[in-house]
């Protein structure tokens, strides 16, 4: 079957010629040589454009619309003078206190302690009605004082159960529970061990505060609601909160204690955030549960002398230089430093072409060297602590070790 193709389909036309003619004499009726559809459209469009260039068909009655030609001028008139200096009285926010819900009865008091030790973070928590807890606070304190952490041995922790309390095996991830039997006011003292990643003070403290309907404590406020103290043979922080437990009681899904809340400042650093060259004789240790999250620990030994080296990232000012130096001085049995002493303690060392703070503290028996390397909003603390003689021997190696440090995303400083 042959296809019958109509004759007048696409025939090329000399465009410039016809265009000229089309402008003056447009052909709407079928013309001898039929133009293609697209050609006709092109002509029509072209004609419209060219006809608009003619300005001789103004007519009366358009004056009213001239005013809006001025509108664009308004563009430039407005918005040029934003005040660069201003003064005002800052209004205080309206104080609002939520009504105490009388129906829920008495308040709940929570005594808790968080202790990093024995490769974990240990949580000791006692919670109950206000009056009951008040009468048993002494038991809690006595218990805390009796806690012993063992680095070696089968039992990482041991304690003395207060009189009148009974020990039960832990259920649901708890290490153990101490129970005080009572008809009206039974109490449970829970002992839980979690991996060191769950040891963020702010996250846990605020989680407890939210459970009791208390406002979160942030930044400097955190220090006000927590107490640093010795717990047995280790040290940790304790809290004492009074609030109203929400109706749903148990920790809701929103509170995620096991989630290591990573500081947003050091996201995307799952692989080795810092690389270094390990000096001769230094041994890397597995992540120590007792240390701050993100810490890398090494060890060097000379006979029976051992020195511990740690690399820790800390955000922001980490409490301030003087506060840290005083704390370290305490660790090598030195008294806190005054300003002059501080200047003598803090020197500099060159790392990656920059001078960074380098603290050298020589105590009677122990010596500590700390290099503080800033990386953006974080600072990396390279610390070595050990007997004076060993540190003297390892000082050069330590300095080379610090200088060899390379951080993730090291292009900026």
């Amino acid at each position: 079957m042959t296809l019958i193709v109509p004759r007048a389909t696409i025939k090329p036309c000399n465009l410039p010629e016809t265009r000229r003619r089309c402008i003056s004499v447009p052909r709407l009726h079928p013309s001898p040589h039929r133009r293609s559809v697209c050609h006709r459209k092109l002509l029509a469009m072209h004609k419209t454009i060219l006809s608009s260039f003619r300005t001789n068909h103004a007519s009366p009655g358009r004056a009213g619309f001239l005013s809006f030609a001025l509108v664009p001028l308004a563009f430039f008139a407005i918005g040029c003078g934003k005040e660069e200096i201003e003064s005002y009285v800052a209004p205080r926010p309206v104080e609002f206190k939520e009504e105490e819900d009388a129906s829920t009865g008495s308040k709940t008091r929570m005594l808790a302690a968080m202790v990093p030790a024995s490769n974990s973070v240990w949580f000791f928590k006692l919670e109950g009605p206000e009056a009951t807890i008040a009468s048993h606070k002494a038991d809690f304190d006595a218990f805390l004082a009796s806690v012993k952490f063992n680095d070696q041995g089968n039992d990482p922790i041991s304690w003395t159960t207060p009189k009148g309390w009974r020990q039960e095996a832990g259920a649901k991830g708890r290490h153990a529970t101490l129970v005080l039997e009572s008809k009206e006011n039974p109490l449970e003292l829970t002992i839980t061990a979690l991996p060191e990643a769950a040891g963020d003070v702010s996250a846990n403290v605020n989680r407890w505060r939210r459970q009791l309907g208390l406002a979160p404590a942030l930044g400097p406020q955190l220090a006000k609601v927590t107490t640093e103290r010795k717990v047995g043979n280790a040290s940790g922080i304790t809290v004492d909160f009074l609030g109203t437990k929400a109706a749903d009681g148990m920790m809701s899904r929103k509170a995620r204690p096991k989630m290591a809340i990573p500081e947003p400042r050091d996201q995307a650093s799952n692989q080795a955030p810092v690389k270094y060259t390990k000096p001769e004789g230094w041994k890397e240790l597995p992540p120590q549960r007792a240390s701050l999250p993100g810490t890398i620990t090494l060890e060097v030994a000379d006979g029976s002398d051992k020195a511990k080296i740690t690399i820790t990232p800390l955000a922001g000012q980490a409490g301030g230089l003087k506060a840290n130096v005083d704390r370290w001085r305490g660790q090598v049995n030195l008294p806190p430093a005054d300003e002059d002493q501080l200047k003598r303690d803090v020197g500099t060392i060159e790392v990656g072409g920059k001078k960074v703070s380098y603290v050298d503290l020589k105590g009677p028996e122990q010596r500590m060297l700390v290099a503080i390397v800033p990386q953006g909003a974080q600072s990396w603390y390279f610390k070595i602590l050990g007997p004076v003689k060993l540190i003297e021997k390892e000082k050069k190696a330590f300095e080379a070790f610090v200088k060899s440090a390379r951080f993730q995303g090291d292009s900026d400083g």
């Binding site: 358009r62 030609a69 664009p72 200096i85 979160p216």
Partner: protein
């Protein structure tokens, strides 16, 4: 003049003009000539070409500078100086540049062109109603962009749970705030905006209790550390220095915020006495918005003590928002976010309003011309961040789109009916 018996050409032209029966007059006078020139379609095409180049250049510019800097320099301006370097790879260095019309100038000219075209070639007939509506919609769209650029402001309100807030913060600009806490009226604040700090030099103003000399202003900076040469002689910055960093690029996938720092020398207004050089930095004002409190530095002048801090630009509101509870729900058994919701109490003593509202994703609060969106939260679910937007032109883009769509439907509808009528007639 009209020859109704003329060839189809003339008839066609008459239809085109559609002012039937009226004689066509050639208007004279400079005004009409000028207006006609403004109405030229050539001008429209030329302006479109300029707009194309501007958008291209603005897009390239934001690689080196932040998005908001590029927007304000290229699009919300009357003119912009375009460096030649924009258009060549970084390895080839070409100094200098050329001035070019900015967004407002091109937009304004386009609008003038459109309106003038209507004035000159005005045809208020049903046949043209579709086009008129489309063009009106475009005018509304252009106006909306201008109104938004000039009048809109937005900020983030960060509220800790069980806490209150009555101000917004703008993370794209900062201010040096000098606070007199002992003022009888309350906290008396004088602020110097970053636009003024960037200019540098001595700032002397009646509104300030002392003179401020900007020694150095860094648009973006690293956290102050003990390394480097610090210029501070007083305050928290002694012994510390902040390293200047380039602005966060508009193409940075993380879109961190710029954290500015500055060295300012305080001088006694009357005597000119140098009262010390301070390091002020946004770092000490909690730029990560972790909910930490800011740490202002103390400045003593003439026996009075003032607090000084470099903070995000604040806009105080006449109302207070109290955050009763912040909920962050996950899909059960997963770590995927399901919903963020803030139960807040809106307290407005001025309008005598007090009510409890839940603001969640896709459910903003609308109050007094402002929209409150659930924007973010303080890490650890300790509080919420609400984005509060005040935009008088917020409805205009919708109206404009509606007008343009309707206009298009009408226009094509008219043509379709005309075509069908002709088909049926033939």
């Amino acid at each position: 003049m009209d020859n109704l018996t003329a060839a189809p050409a003339k008839e066609m032209e008459r239809n085109e003009s559609s002012v039937e029966g009226k004689s066509r007059q050639r208007r004279s006078g400079w005004f009409w000539i000028a207006l006609s020139a403004l109405a030229s379609l050539r001008l429209t095409v030329f302006l479109f070409a300029l707009a194309l180049i501007l958008v291209f250049a603005g897009t390239l510019a934001q690689v080196e500078m932040g998005i908001w800097t590029a927007v304000s320099r290229y699009f919300r301006s009357v003119y912009v100086f375009m460096p030649f370097q924009l258009f060549v790879p970084a390895t080839v260095k070409i100094p200098g540049g050329f001035p070019f019309p900015g967004g407002w100038l091109i937009g304004g000219a386009l609008m003038a062109n459109l309106l003038a075209a209507h004035a000159v070639r005005f045809k208020l007939t049903w046949a043209r109603s579709g086009i008129l509506l489309i063009h009106s919609g475009l005018v509304v769209m252009m106006l909306s962009e201008f109104i938004t650029g000039v009048f809109a402001n937005e900020g983030i309100m960060t509220i800790v749970e069980k806490g209150t807030s009555n101000y917004l913060e703008d993370s794209t600009s900062c201010e040096l705030a000098i606070i007199d806490p002992a003022h009888p009226d309350g906290e008396h604040v004088a602020v110097i905006r970053d636009s003024m700090l960037k200019k540098g030099g001595l700032i002397h103003n009646d509104k300030l209790p002392f003179d401020v000399q900007v020694v150095e202003y860094m648009v973006n900076s690293g956290y102050p550390t003990p390394t480097g040469k610090g210029l501070a002689t007083k305050g928290d910055g002694v012994g510390l220095s902040a390293k200047a960093l380039p602005e966060v690029s508009g193409t940075d996938p993380e879109q961190k915020i710029d954290v500015p720092s500055a060295y300012v020398t305080i001088k006694n207004k009357r005597t000119g006495e140098d009262l010390g050089t301070y390091l002020v930095t946004l770092w000490w004002s909690d730029p990560g918005r972790m909910g930490e409190t800011e740490k202002p530095q103390k400045v003593q002048v003439d026996g009075k003590t003032y607090d000084m801090t470099l903070r995000m630009r604040r806009t105080y509101k006449p109302y207070t928002i109290y955050l009763k509870q912040f909920k962050h729900d996950l899909f059960p058994g997963t770590a995927l976010d399901k919903q963020f919701a803030s139960t807040v109490r809106l307290i407005d003593p001025v309008n005598n309003q007090e009510r409890e509202v839940e603001i969640s994703m896709n459910r903003p609060l609308f109050y007094e011309g402002e929209s409150f969106y659930q924007s973010g939260w303080i890490p650890g679910d300790l509080g919420t961040r609400l984005q509060v937007v005040h935009n008088p032109g917020r409805a205009m883009p919708y109206i404009s789109c509606f007008m343009v769509s309707l206009g298009m439907l009408i226009h094509f509808g008219i043509h379709l009916t005309r075509f069908l009528r002709r088909e049926l007639a033939s």
